[in-house]
């Protein structure tokens, strides 16, 4: 299989990793500096756990489809 076909999964993982880090970071920041616009269920801190899920998914795809691995395969 051509490595560039598999690279899409790596790119998706990279983007999810970046988004997850930004969203989790924002969620943690809001613990100390609550935003002016209060949303429903804000007490559940969805930014923290949803961001963490994105980081987990992103890490899986980045590691599993990293270029060095797909090219050697």
């Amino acid at each position: 299989m051509h490595s560039h076909v598999n690279s899409i999964w790596f790119l998706i993982g990279l983007q999810l990793l970046i988004y997850g880090a930004l969203i989790t970071g924002t969620g943690i920041w809001e613990l100390f500096y609550p935003p002016a616009r209060v949303v429903d269920l804000a007490w559940m801190h969805p930014a923290i756990w949803w961001g963490a899920i994105l980081v987990g998914l992103g890490l899986f795809y980045v590691i599993h489809y990293r270029p060095s691995r797909t090219i050697s395969n």
Binding site: M1, H2, H4, V5, S7, I8, L11, I12, Q15, L16, I18, Y19, L22, I23, T26, G27, E30, P35, R37, V39, D40, L41, A42, M44, P46, A47, W50, G51, L54, L57
Partner: protein
């Protein structure tokens, strides 16, 4: 779907972190185009992505190209307006057709090695039917692309207060850059990325919404309470998929089961999912027959659950939003008196604002933009292929080099985007024209399905039969549309009931146009000479040696997964009946 071109005030305001998330998205989509340019050297690479996509990539792209502007916001709004009945457009209006495409039709598309649906018609029926199909498809595709661009810009203005010119040009330039650089390959890669972002940016709304409503049973109680409060008669009808379809008057959509099963399930969805080149092009890029058959099945498996991020937010809005949403006509009337109301189509952005704070809002906005861009790119890549291979090459310049057609593909992409932008500004002046464009688009889908399926399954069908059947079905559909448009009471004849509502008109018009195609095609076929069987090899059942899928264990066979998907589809319909 109608979208207001102006709003009194935006629903939410994006913070710097939200803007950063959107900017990162644009950097990624353009970066993908730049990265893939080196892999796009031939016409086959540009128009068919080199025919080397895996089943998963082709399948997700197949579905993502359909998750455009009208899909995400329009059907969430329809769920608010009509209740759970809207889910038919995801289940019976998609799943059987996707299974038919995967198991029955893909082998013929694949065996013929054609590059497009009009290309298949060229091989099967000749230039007349192919030309009619190609020209109508090219015009409709470019109009739909313009509608997508306008819809996105309008939503960005309503939701965030962004300038419409800014949204139109930034989104079009970004999409144009990655499509011109690497064609279908780049479009498919971005569609897979967009598919993931659409899900992850939208899924939080149903998760948090169901938690707040107290689960599915709690949501049903909230909806009953709200609808009773709004004075809606028979609110229970908003929560059933099948049991209210015995009579036009028993459900909020004003339709019956014949319209849903035969109009939507047997004609419109079959036409869209099996002959609309916008989606079929993605599957044709698969690397082998098994992947080509599996791709629509993978798409079907995910399609069954798209209602979680589209229909469920609409229902949650119906049960949990403090404001009551109204039709676009009522919004415009209120605006004339200085009042601000929200339309059905605003339900998804309102739910986004209800649950998503900074950063999560950016992810949700990115999901919406991704949906719009995947729809636009789908239209533009399909236009470039049909223009180059089915109009320019056979009608204007048949003997040019592959490099010339590759260049033509790139230039026609630029031209298609510019015409789309022009269409977006045209639509901006006449918002109601969006409804007409959608109707125009539907004129060509149902008849085309009749022509393609008869050509694939009946070897006697003649070129003259195919052409005249397609023309008669298209003209018949247009005539029925204008009959009802000029004389609304005519709907009772089209839908066979005085209680039918406008939604029923589309279903029954499609059904009748399909019947016209079949009758005319069969009639003309019986009095005209057929093509010799030697010319039908690879095109028609009974004359084609279907290539082997290869020897795989049961769990890797398309037929096995088709059975599993159909069983889940049946169970879902039974549970929510």
């Amino acid at each position: 779907m109608s979208i207001s071109a102006a709003a009194a005030r935006p629903i939410v305001t994006a913070s710097p972190i939200d803007i950063a998330i959107v900017v990162i998205y644009f950097i990624f989509v353009i970066g993908i185009g730049i990265y893939l340019k080196k892999y796009t050297k031939t016409g086959e690479d540009f128009f068919m992505a080199g025919r080397e996509m895996t089943a998963w990539i082709a399948g997700l792209s197949f579905l993502s190209a359909n998750l455009g502007a009208l899909e995400l916001l329009g059907w969430a709004g329809s769920a608010y307006e009509y209740g759970i009945l809207a889910v038919h457009w995801y289940w019976i209006g998609a799943i059987p057709a996707m299974i038919l495409l995967g198991l029955v039709m893909m082998p013929f598309y694949y065996a013929s090695r054609t590059h497009s649906v009009p290309g298949y018609l060229q091989l099967r029926y000749g230039r007349a039917a192919s030309g009619l199909s190609a020209i109508s498809f090219a015009v409709m595709t470019i109009l739909m692309s313009g509608v997508n661009i306008f819809a996105m810009a309008a939503v960005m203005q309503v939701v965030l207060g962004w300038n419409m010119n800014f949204s139109i040009w930034v989104s079009s330039a970004s999409m144009g850059a990655y499509v011109v650089l690497a064609g279908l390959l780049s479009a498919i890669f971005n569609e897979v990325l967009q598919f993931v972002l659409i899900w992850l940016g939208s899924l939080l709304i149903p998760i948090l919404g169901l938690f707040q409503a107290g689960g599915w049973s709690g949501l049903k109680q909230h909806i009953m309470t709200n609808l009773t409060h709004f004075g809606v008669a028979n609110p229970d009808s908003y929560m059933h998929v099948w049991t209210t379809l015995g009579n036009f008057k028993d459900n909020p959509m004003g339709i019956n089961w014949i319209g849903i099963v035969f109009g939507l399930g047997a004609v419109i969805s079959m036409g869209y999912w099996t002959t609309d080149f916008l989606v079929v092009q993605r599957v044709m890029s698969a690397r082998d027959l098994r992947s080509a058959k599996m791709a629509p099945l993978i798409g079907a498996a995910f399609k069954m659950f798209v209602p979680v991020i589209v229909i469920l937010p609409g229902l949650l809005g119906l049960g949990l939003l403090d404001v009551h949403l109204v039709s676009q006509t009522a919004v415009s009337a209120a605006a004339a008196h200085g009042a601000t109301l929200y339309s059905y189509n605003d339900v998804l952005p309102l739910m986004l604002a209800k649950y998503c704070g900074p950063a999560l809002l950016g992810l949700g906005i990115t999901a919406l933009i991704a949906g719009f861009m995947s729809g636009m790119a789908g239209n533009v890549t399909a236009f470039a292929t049909v223009w180059t291979h089915d109009i320019y090459k056979p009608m204007m310049n048949p003997n040019a080099s592959d490099g010339h057609y590759l260049a033509m593909g790139r230039w026609s992409t630029v031209l298609g985007i510019l015409v789309s932008i022009g269409t977006a500004y045209f639509v901006m002046q006449f918002a109601s024209i969006m409804d007409y464009v959608q109707a125009l688009f539907s004129f060509f889908i149902a008849p085309l399905f009749g022509t393609v399926i008869l050509g694939m399954l009946w070897k006697r069908t003649t070129p003259a039969g195919g052409f005249w059947g397609l023309l008669a079905g298209t003209v018949g559909s247009i005539a029925m549309y204008f009959w009802v448009d000029l004389q609304p009471s005519a709907l009772r004849y089209i839908a066979l009931s005085p209680d039918a509502m406008p939604m029923a008109a589309d279903m029954f018009r499609a059904l009748w146009s399909f019947v016209i195609v079949v009758l005319v095609t069969v009639g003309v076929t019986l009095v005209t000479p057929p093509k010799p069987q030697s010319e039908l090899k690879g095109l028609v059942m009974g004359c084609t040696d279907i290539p082997s899928e290869g020897s795989y264990p049961l769990i890797h066979r398309p037929a096995f997964w088709a059975v599993v998907i159909f069983a889940v589809f049946a169970a879902l319909n039974w549970y929510f009946r």
